[in-house]
Amino acid sequence: MRPETAAPTEGVHGPDTRTLVLVWLALLGLTALLVGLSALGQRAAVLGLLTLTPLKAALVFYFFMHLRYEGALLKAILLVTLGTLLIFFGLTYADVAFR
């Protein structure tokens, strides 16, 4: 294994049961919050969409998918992916938003 890319693969490297359950509760709580926020109206709903949803996704990535316990490579890969997607969005909007 190459030192630069080797990740801590040995042994158990995930969160323990307690952490997992806490994350799950947080996810449910955030969902409830999102639903509540959306009831307030369109603006609040969009605000929730833009803030709470990425937060929920981050929790899943970070704990359920063990990203927190991985080396830099996998984190970089996810960042590149999301960055690319963001660029696709941004440049599409360069057309759509200025019609």
């Binding site: 890319t5 590149v80 690319t84 696709f88 440049l91 599409t92 057309d95 200025f98």
Partner: protein, 542 residues
Amino acid sequence: MTTLARPLPHTLPSYLEDSPRRGLAAWLLSTDHKRVAMLYLFSMVSFFFVGVTLGILMRLEQWTLGRTLMSAQTYNALFTVHGVVMIFMFVIPGLPAVFGNFFLPLLIGARDVAFPRLNLASWYFFIVGALLAVLSLFTGKGAPDTGWTFYVPFSLHSGTNVTLAVFAAFVMGWSSILTGINFITTIHRLRAPGMTWHRMPLFCWALYATSWIQLLATPVLGITLILVILERSFGIGIFDPAKGGDPILYQHLFWIYSHPAVYIMILPAMGAISEILPTFARRPIFGYKAIAYSSLSIAAFGSLVWAHHMFTSGMSAFGNMIFSLLTMIVAIPSAIKVFNWTATLYKGSIRFSPALLYAVSFVFLFCVGGLTGVMQGALAINQHVHDTYFIVGHFHYVMFGGTGFAFFAALLYWFPKMFGRMYDRKGAYLSWFPLFVGFNLLYFTMLVLGYMGQPRRYYDHLPGYHTGHLVATVGSWFLAAGLLLLFGNFVRALFKGEKAGDNPWGGVTLEWKVPSPPPVENFEETPVVTGPPYAFEGEAQP
């Protein structure tokens, strides 16, 4: 290397002789990366000849005004199938699937790619997709007639077999994605001890960048094609203006993939050229890091420019502006490569060979293609030349003159390694003349026709363009002659070629340190790398 800690032993039989299976199964079920590469090579060259024949037929149709050989419907099917075959079955898998599969593990000192079975599965995806595409010609209401771009709403209304063709492209896309996953993992995990990133040959850098584009862009095409199929079968209304959909959205999604795809085609070609030039100049490549990083930046910037295919579609003024600006910027890394290649010849000790001749022709033809690309990127010029033969000229220069010639150059360079036999070098020089002359006669004329205003995908043309069409058609015959000579030479060498020896060109990267053809395991013992990739000092002259 690539300077090795010590020379490698040579005792094992070659991969061509060593297989637990017999007959066809030895090929169709083998997960050896070299055999998979051969599967790709032979299936792809066959499709290439199909595509090329369609190209010749199109040229013949333009020989006279009005009908020459076929109906308008047939002509429309011809350029569609020609485009689909050439793009999805030849230039996109082209260098990565053949030379990447064969040489990536060899170049980094690995025994195979990271996921050998997945690798074979990729070929099956490819061949199934390709066969579906062929099937789409003969079933339903005839071959698709929309052009390889499948623009909606025409592709929604067309009665021809668009659905099957689109599905075929979808399947082939997965082949491309799986190959990309495999190569990235291989480069990260399977480099030999001492093979640091900056000791990797440049072809590997190019493949790495290519694989990332395949991963990030191909899925977008996948979903776009699915939407076309859903729209055709269920009328979901996302693209159909009659239902509130928007054709421009389709164009965005299509080009988000298809512009990066042109860099999938050219990057490995550039990588192969970066291997060939130092070997024959017998000196390290000029600006190793500049070339390596420009591959990555082409991959990155390449995903920012897609809408330069849509300048006349009615995109917003701001969109036009920003995409034209970015298009100009993506040309910079290509320019850096061209200058570094030129400088690599400086103060070398150049041995001429067919591979070198094709490689420098690549540089010339790619420059013509690239510079016409820059012209199209300038907004004012684009609105005149868009959808004319100027575009057709541009992309044949970059795809055929670029990727195609690099494919020939790579084949001339690595053929002795892959098969252990040498082709007739004089014959290879000889076929260059008709190829090069015919190429320019055919495609430069197209550039002129395009600026005069000949639209593309035209079955018939106005009388004013007739002379140009005649010249181009004659050029295509020269081209055909050259291609037949070249491939005839290869076929002859497969059976009758003399033994090539392990290192006919005096190359120094790892693939030249193993026997020709290499054994199944590639390396009898794991090589230990101690130096940069192109160190020619102290190497024996061939």
